[in-house]
């Protein structure tokens, strides 16, 4: 390991510690996809335009292509996979299916993350606020209307009772997570 340009990075990915060596110039997106095999995070443009690489990082939604893996060391990261059992995310997923808000599906992980982030901050947004909430996410298939319909249908319905949503409020990993990391407990996500 080149001490100058590589380092051991530990992130708390979907509540599980994950550790791998990363280059200093490796983006969080590459780290998630290629090291943690969290391929639910998509790479669209790689420069912050399209939003399909959105993850929750340190309690806030970010575009993982514009974060360095080194910046994520010791932080919590949630992908949509980690929010699968979250009531709000589950409702959004159902609503996307019901409203036909998915065609090719490539933007969907980012769209769901943007919708989740919006409704967490503002549970009853107007349609205009929904548009602003997903303004950083490009979809080349649906024309956005069905996505907005899907989000609007969920808005205001969901009570926030989920572990993930709670722990987002305390972004620093807990001691038990740290201990798990020390014990070398690793998570490898599927494809």
């Amino acid at each position: 390991m080149d001490q100058l340009t590589e380092s051991m990075i530990t992130i708390f990915l979907n509540d599980q510690p994950f550790q791998a060596v990363a280059g200093a110039s490796e983006s969080l997106l590459d780290f998630l996809r290629h090291r943690a095999l969290a391929t639910e995070v998509k790479c669209g443009c790689g420069r912050g335009d399209c939003g399909t690489c959105a993850v929750l990082f340190d309690g806030r939604m970010v575009k993982s292509c514009l974060v360095l893996a080194a910046q994520a060391n010791g932080k919590r990261v949630y992908t949509i996979r980690g929010l699968g059992r979250d009531a709000l995310m589950a409702n959004l997923q159902d609503s996307f299916i019901q409203h036909g808000a998915i065609q090719c599906g490539f933007c969907t992980p980012g769209m769901l993350m943007a919708a989740y982030n919006l409704l967490r901050i503002k549970p009853t947004p107007t349609r205009s606020e929904i548009r602003q909430g997903i303004a950083g996410n490009l979809c080349r298939c649906t024309g956005y209307q069905k996505i907005i319909d899907a989000i609007a249908a969920v808005a205001g319905k969901t009570a926030f009772v989920s572990e993930a949503a709670d722990s987002l409020d305390s972004p620093n990993p807990t001691a038990t997570d740290q201990e798990k990391a020390k014990a070398g407990y690793l998570l490898l996500g599927g494809g």
């Binding site: 939604m61 575009k63 974060v67 360095l68 548009r131 602003q132 303004a135």
Partner: protein, 296 residues
């Protein structure tokens, strides 16, 4: 050769100091080939597009001193790495610094605002930086620190040209200081972009103070119409000491549009910029005057 913008093509060292003293020491010890990483939303794209090729990156996200927001009777002090989202959701900014709040809301998309920082937006020194016109209108001062030294620089003196500022080698922008709002004052910001979260073709902010029907203080600033974001003194001189009505605001906006030096570029033409600059200047002057309690 086409540039693959999906990867970071250079190998660099990434240093993440955990306090301000260490950060300042690192900045002064490192040579020219150093880049300061705040939110990364501009810098990492520049590195991917091979526009900058640093050997060392100094990341500031773990420096708590730079993340603080404080208000007191003198005004508002914003740490350089306060994110655009944090500033946008800060009650005192929403309440008393309307032009800044409106600028922050208009910038990029939520996921970018969650990373991008106020200091980064200024140090990137884009002529189109949306936080610059409101901060110029509020007459912001910047605290620039180098290990063992510090100086306060008015924002009007900070920008030197596209991508260039008066930051000396090894110097770090640590704090943005805004004076407390004056009684009977108001401010507003507007921008014109292609779509909502786009980079501005033109942006403008004004800050007015009113006594009765007279404007006693005016600061107007625009971006994307000159090599740097600029104050427009022609507008300010017309309004200060004058009885304000809608005609005067129109004249001031006309004078402002004549004073700017826009260029043709990928986002717009000089002619169009001049025309819309007049329109949005008039609108921000009206909005600021009404917010200051004035009548039109």
């Amino acid at each position: 050769m086409p540039v693959d913008s999906k990867i970071l093509p250079f190998r660099f060292r990434c240093l993440e100091p955990s306090n301000l003293t260490d950060a300042l020491n690192l900045c002064s010890q490192s040579g020219d080939q150093v880049a300061i990483l705040a939110g990364g939303t501009d810098l990492l794209i520049k590195i991917k597009r091979q526009m900058v090729q640093p050997e060392i990156l100094i990341g500031l996200q773990r420096v708590p001193e730079l993340q603080q927001i404080q208000t007191n009777e003198q005004g508002l002090r914003l740490g350089a790495t306060v994110t655009l989202s944090e500033a946008e959701h800060y009650p005192a900014i929403q309440r008393e610094y309307s032009a800044l709040y409106e600028a922050l809301r208009s910038m990029a998309a939520p996921a970018i605002r969650n990373m991008a920082t106020l200091g980064g937006n200024l140090c990137n020194a884009s002529p189109a930086a949306d936080t610059a016109p409101p901060l110029l209108a509020f007459d912001a001062q910047l605290r620039l620190q180098k290990s063992g030294q510090e100086r306060l620089v008015r924002l009007t003196q900070f920008f030197l040209g596209p991508g260039s500022s008066c930051l000396a080698p090894g110097e770090l922008l640590t704090e943005i200081c805004l004076p407390a709002p004056l009684p009977d004052s108001g401010s507003a910001f507007l921008k014109l972009g292609r779509v909502s979260c786009d980079i501005a073709k033109v942006n403008a902010a004004t800050y007015l103070q009113r006594r009765g029907t007279v404007c006693i203080l005016c600061r107007a600033a625009v971006g994307s119409v000159a090599p740097t974001p600029v104050r427009i003194l022609q507008v300010e001189q017309l309004l200060e000491g004058a009885v304000v009505d809608s005609n005067l605001l129109r004249q001031a906006a006309e004078a402002g549009a004549k004073a700017i030096v826009p260029i043709d570029d990928i986002r717009s033409t000089a002619k169009y910029r001049r025309q819309v600059c007049q329109v949005i200047l008039e609108e921000v002057l009206q909005a600021a005057w009404i917010r200051a309690g004035g009548v039109l």
